[in-house]
Symmetry: C2
Subunit: 410 residues, 2 copies
């Protein structure tokens, strides 16, 4: 984040707030409940677009289709289903993903190569294409440029998520107001390593395509790639950004005087969505934020922050409101990067528990109250080895995580 914040959060804003976007969602029958399971975003013009994807070797069929659509750097629509990941479904799965793209293009009257496809849900089962077909046929009348359409879309992409995730900010570019928004889903199998679960960004900025892609990658690295729920990286992670260009701003590129402001605003949306995903991790009761400073470099800081926030023992201790800093330092020490073992400081919130690698006689009662009452638990690790910094987000490990995942398919 820049020191002087030049963007403003738009309360009640959504992915349809940037000019040119409609969204919608409906229930077509992929989920067993009557919750929405199919959604779409439509831009009134072909939008400059970019995507980042999971690093998992096994990539779901929709990722292949979306990559193909994004070769020309342009999208006008995207269709997404929940309830079924269309992953490890072989040739039939690919054919189904292509059919989703073709049907959406036909229904929304846009070019097939300008449609992205995303899926989330159970791995290894074929899509019920009858449901998908009838759902896509019903999409046009559901699309809406207001808050209602965005709400239906956000509901359609959720799986075990408890709450929808969205964020909207505005920022001035060359005197014009530009709006950036995003929606995401998360919950389980969350240890993104390139993109995150499903994330969709819309903006009305005019922006160079290559710079949009580079910004998406840079923002992803410090936001979506810095969260973990359970260390598992999905086969379906995908983050797609669409820029309609309808804000009327002078076209953004890296040399534009407002580039840094725009980038900060864009990164804010990514960070807000990423934190929402971590906070709503399966079974979570708390957001855990780990700030590492003084590492030999930023990469080392990131490795340490992610190792601490991903430690099952640290996560269990936070759930139990146990100020067990021994588990934090043990995680720091196994992150696989250089650390001087004699000069580590650790704090829980404002409570110093370790100074220069020596235990501080802290007030256990105060620590218990902090851990019990805080909606967000802040763990600060200072290494005094260099200038590297990073922040990572995760959640506590609870009985409900086990309950949810012991019987996900049933």
């Amino acid at each position: 984040m820049s020191e002087k914040q030049t963007y403003t959060v738009v309360e009640g804003g959504s992915i349809t707030t940037p000019k040119g976007f409609k969204a919608g969602g409906l229930h077509c029958g992929l989920k067993k409940t009557d919750r929405n399971d199919l959604g779409a975003i439509l831009c009134e013009v072909p939008a400059t677009a970019a995507g980042v994807y999971t690093t998992n070797v096994f990539q779901a069929a929709p990722l292949k289709v979306t990559r193909e659509s994004l070769v020309n750097g342009t999208l006008q629509a995207l269709v997404v289903n929940s309830g079924n990941a269309n992953a490890c479904t072989g040739e039939q799965g690919e054919a189904d993903a292509y059919e989703m793209r073709a049907a959406t293009a036909r229904q929304l009257n846009v070019a097939e190569e300008n449609v992205a496809v995303a899926s989330t849900g159970v791995i290894g089962e074929l899509l019920k294409m009858d449901a998908v077909r009838s759902g896509i046929a019903g999409l046009p009348e559901k699309l809406d440029g207001g808050a209602a359409g965005a709400e239906e879309f956000c509901q359609a992409i959720l799986t075990t998520d408890l709450v929808k995730k969205e964020c909207c900010v505005k920022v001035s570019v060359g005197g014009e107001e530009v709006v950036i928004a995003g929606a995401a889903k998360g919950s389980g199998m969350i240890h993104p390593n390139m993109a995150t679960m499903l994330g969709f960004m819309t903006t009305d900025a005019a922006i160079d395509g290559e710079d949009l892609l580079n910004l998406l990658r840079a923002a992803t690295n410090v936001t979506f790639n810095m969260i973990t729920v359970d260390g598992d990286t999905s086969t379906n992670d995908m983050l797609v950004a669409m820029a309609s260009g309808l804000a009327g701003n002078s076209k953004l590129n890296r040399l534009h005087p407002d580039w840094d402001n725009f980038a900060a605003a864009f990164t804010h949306v990514c960070q807000s969505l990423a934190k929402s995903i971590a906070r709503d991790g399966e079974g979570a009761t708390k957001l855990i934020e780990v700030r590492v400073s003084g590492a030999v470099n930023d990469e080392a800081a990131a490795a340490i922050a992610k190792t601490v926030v991903g430690s099952s023992l640290v996560k269990s201790a936070i759930f139990g409101a146990d100020a067990n800093w021994g588990r934090i330092i043990a995680a720091v020490g196994r992150a696989g990067v250089p650390v001087s073992p004699e000069r580590v400081d650790i704090s829980l919130g404002a409570i110093e528990v370790l100074l220069q690698s020596k235990p501080v006689a802290f007030d256990e009662e105060q620590a218990l109250v902090y851990l019990q009452k805080s909606d967000t638990v802040l763990i600060t690790v200072k290494l005094h080895d260099g200038e590297g910094t990073a922040t990572a987000w995760g959640c506590d490990l609870t009985y409900d995580y086990v309950r949810i995942n012991a019987a996900y398919r049933t």
Copy 2:
């Protein structure tokens, strides 16, 4: 394991079965309950010895002392306490570890530099040295060359373990019977990366010191380093082997005609202890064994096997008896090593669930019964990319893991 097994498991054997060893344990006051918390092993002669240690950057004080003792490749005694890890305890912690070594040497009448020290328990609290001192003073009368002494020792090294872990085998070396035994503790913070938790091996073999160290390292790599309970690597992991040489065998080295038989027997003890640790992981109800074959090389196979067995989602699914192979293939795909995504076979026990990366229509009821009834769940992954193989062991993720770790210190 060798194809023709030349060693025999000694039922009821223990670390005192090899000639020359006594062991014992007692309660000195480090644990809140009256369970044993201090133990020792004594050899009647200085034994050829070797050790391997945690890769965690933060290494507990006793590791420093033990490394120092092992510089000369000889040990005659070792002392171990549970209830307190003596880790992150600064200069006082080091002084305490040295005092443990000196007091043990004095009481057992051996040279100080021939005594190893190990600790396990809570990190960051100073040892109650009054309790340790009185405990060490009481050790000599507890030492016993029979099964009772070994039993007391095994009890003394446990923390949240439910059962003691020991194994004993015999093998013929140059016509003489040689006995190899081991005792270990595990339970939580189990993702060894060099050695494991605490493991102590005794043998009466005469063996070259350098070859003993190399064998210890090689055996550790395919046994203790292939288990995981929660992905957390302790600050206190240590595996020490002592060889009394009293079996009267012609001295073992890598060129000895019975080397392979001895190495197989030694590795069997390590594997047996490692599997016991995984099976008794905190909260575990099942052992999970993941066998990977056809990887590009053994290192890739090991990375995949450990990623699968360490996946919280796979572990939760096994707890829930859910044949969710999608989580297995997702873990294979994020292991960070090359895999051809089109030709993966996965089986649960004898039930094929994925063939050439395509779902097999298996009998869900049969899979449910297999997962519910099996004490050990076998996951087989065949990659058809090369000749690399590896096996890893872990356990399911249960409500009890969360319960135990949400309130470990209290």
